[in-house]
């Protein structure tokens, strides 16, 4: 336990000092994006990993958060940072509606209903040009020129999200969530209001994902429906981050976020320009292959299967 807390302190110091030591905007950008994915992945994990409701439509909340921040600028003329506060709340309101419809469904049906929900929101955002500017997207002006403020905001958000979920899973609510995942009928018969707690889990998840969306709007300064409501690059990526890192583990999605963003960037930039150009054209293909690879070989993720990975690596070393 002592060794663990020392490790955490070292990790914390590294994260706090990172932008002061590494001045390259490119690497800072990668870490900021990874931190944003920590938030999305962790909130997806709360809903899917702990409560057993696998969502295929986290883009609903991400996109809603981003558009809340964007519309604040274009329609209300106030700073997009207000969106950080209200993006999460608006996402929760949307989450209530989504929950009302989707939470009467179980297992694969829930997954499909959220998938359809994500597509509906994407189509609304494309067609409701009066509010969202449609396919033109929303362009705002970044507040800071340096990446350092964004870095610390993302870091704070990621820490807050992971910490809230960590403490939540130690309370009674956390155990309610787990019992719903293991057996909803048994939980119901023990007197747990499963409808209420599934909604609670969905709302917390929606809140943090919405905040991440609003942060994305502030940081990237440009959104359009195909980006923030994307099925592949938001909803599926959220699932991947969760699965790669480890479903139903606290730090799994955090590890998964860094691995996924790293792998994606390595292939997108063709091994930082070393490999031939065609690799960067194939980065989406690699993404798909990675999905298949992870499901077949790492069903419980890096954190979940850590002992298995350690054993395999160790054995290889032994024989070498």
């Amino acid at each position: 336990m002592r060794k663990r807390s020392i490790a955490f302190i070292i990790l914390g110091v590294i994260f706090l000092l990172f932008p002061l030591v590494i001045h390259s905007g490119y690497y800072q950008h990668l870490v900021i994006i990874a931190l944003m994915w920590v938030v999305i992945g962790s909130s997806w994990n709360l809903l899917a990993g702990y409560t057993g409701l696998v969502s295929f439509g986290h883009a609903i909340f991400f996109g809603t958060g981003a558009y809340t921040a964007g519309v604040f600028v274009t329609k209300l003329g106030i700073s997009a940072w207000w969106g950080m506060m209200f993006g999460g709340i608006v996402s929760m309101v949307i989450g209530l509606a989504v929950g009302w419809i989707c939470l009467r469904l179980r297992g694969p049906y829930f997954a499909l209903a959220t998938l359809a929900g994500g597509e509906i929101f994407r189509l609304i955002a494309i067609n409701w040009e009066g509010l969202t500017e449609g396919m033109v997207g929303i362009l705002i002006i970044q507040t800071f020129r340096s990446k350092i403020p964004y870095y610390y905001i993302a870091l704070a958000l990621a820490f807050l999200c992971v910490y809230v979920i960590y403490s939540l899973m130690k309370t009674k609510w956390g155990y309610y969530f787990l019992s719903i995942r293991e057996d909803q009928d048994a939980a119901e018969s023990l007197g747990i209001n499963t409808t209420l707690y599934r909604n609670v889990s969905l709302l917390i998840s929606a809140f943090f994902t919405g905040m991440a969306g609003a942060f994305y709007m502030n940081y990237m300064a440009f959104i359009d429906p195909e980006v923030v409501y994307s099925l592949h690059y938001i909803s599926i990526m959220a699932i991947l981050v969760g699965i790669v890192g480890g479903v139903a583990t606290i730090f799994g999605p955090a590890v998964g976020a860094f691995v996924m963003v790293g792998v994606q960037e390595i292939f997108r930039s063709a091994f930082f320009g070393v490999a031939p150009k065609w690799i960067s054209q194939a980065h989406a293909l690699v993404f798909g292959l990675l999905v298949i690879f992870v499901i077949v070989f790492l069903a419980n993720g890096i954190v979940g299967d850590w002992s298995k990975i350690k054993r395999t690596v160790f054995r290889i070393r032994e024989s070498a």
Binding site: I236, Q281, L285
Partner: protein, 291 residues
């Protein structure tokens, strides 16, 4: 009135083809209990095969059914045998791994197509592509009508297969109760492989039939996958008869939506129906017949 009738005719014609796609997915859903989210992408593969055959060897798209259906049958069997079936034995926290696997397969197929053919739009031109005939004031697009007739023929053959042959009976038995079927001596893992192949070849047929009408590009699969699962839910999961009506309902609804609400909302109509069905009629159209 003419506009309305024309809209209905267009809806029924495209609905017939949607049914063909939906039946394939329903079969897979019924036997394996998972939604195959690579369904539209399998159709896309068939469309590219048709494109290659017609572009380089000038083979008629309808003749290429003889190639695409067996080819996709084999591809489907391969995917099921080596990627989906092994997952059944794996222990993991989430049961949705197989669905996610089909998403991965879908992405890989689309990206391979993009890699080979680039993102450009392709068309297959035939002499009858834009011809139409008239009944009264209503026009019937010829390739649509041919596709519709083919769809009905394939559906009838499928029903004959499911109802009259040994293999068809085994498929239905596995769909009803997998454990009982296994105890009766049905090799259920072989049945899942054949079912996936069958579903793929049906969607391949739909792909070859649609190609004279649609543009072809690597991302065409996605919308059709979503349509297929809307149909499957609409018809009642695993119900092949339901899928036929689901396809027709979706076709008509989309067509009405495009005429009376706006082209941009055409796709959304399907999803709204989907959500309404989930809320008010869980179990789909199947529910209406057997309460």
């Amino acid at each position: 009135m003419v506009v309305f009738l024309q809209t209905i005719v267009a809806g029924v014609l495209i609905g017939g083809i949607y049914s063909l796609i939906g039946i394939g997915m329903s079969l897979i859903m019924g036997v394996m209990g998972i939604i195959n989210l690579a369904h539209g992408q399998l159709m896309m593969v068939a469309m590219y095969i048709t494109f290659v055959l017609s572009h380089y060897m000038s083979i008629d798209p309808y003749l290429s059914l003889l190639v695409t259906m067996p080819a996709l049958f084999l591809l489907g069997c391969f995917l099921q045998k080596f990627l989906l079936n092994p997952l059944m034995k794996k222990e993991s926290v989430l049961p949705e791994n197989q669905v996610l696997m089909t998403v991965g397969i879908a992405m890989v197929l689309a990206e391979i197509a993009r890699f080979i053919f680039s993102s450009d739009y392709k068309t297959v031109k035939t002499s009858y592509s834009s011809s139409a005939f008239f009944l009264g004031n209503i026009s019937f697009n010829v390739p649509m009508c041919i596709a519709f007739v083919f769809s009905i023929a394939f559906t009838l053959v499928l029903f004959w297969f499911l109802l009259r042959t040994d293999m068809g009976r085994s498929i239905r038995a596995t769909a009803q109760d997998k454990d009982a079927a296994t105890l009766m001596g049905v090799n259920s893992s072989r049945i899942t492989i054949i079912t996936f192949g069958l579903g793929s070849s049906l969607t391949a047929a739909a792909g070859s039939l649609l190609i004279p009408i649609f543009y072809l590009f690597p991302d065409i699969g996605g919308p059709f996958t979503l349509k297929a699962f809307v149909i499957t839910i609409l018809g009642g999961l695993g119900s092949t008869v339901g899928a036929i009506f689901g396809g027709l309902v979706l076709g008509i609804a989309e067509s009405l939506g495009a005429t009376y609400i706006g082209m941009g909302y055409k796709e959304m109509v399907g999803f709204v129906i989907f959500l309404l069905v989930l809320v008010f009629l869980p179990g789909g159209l199947k529910r209406l017949t057997k309460v």
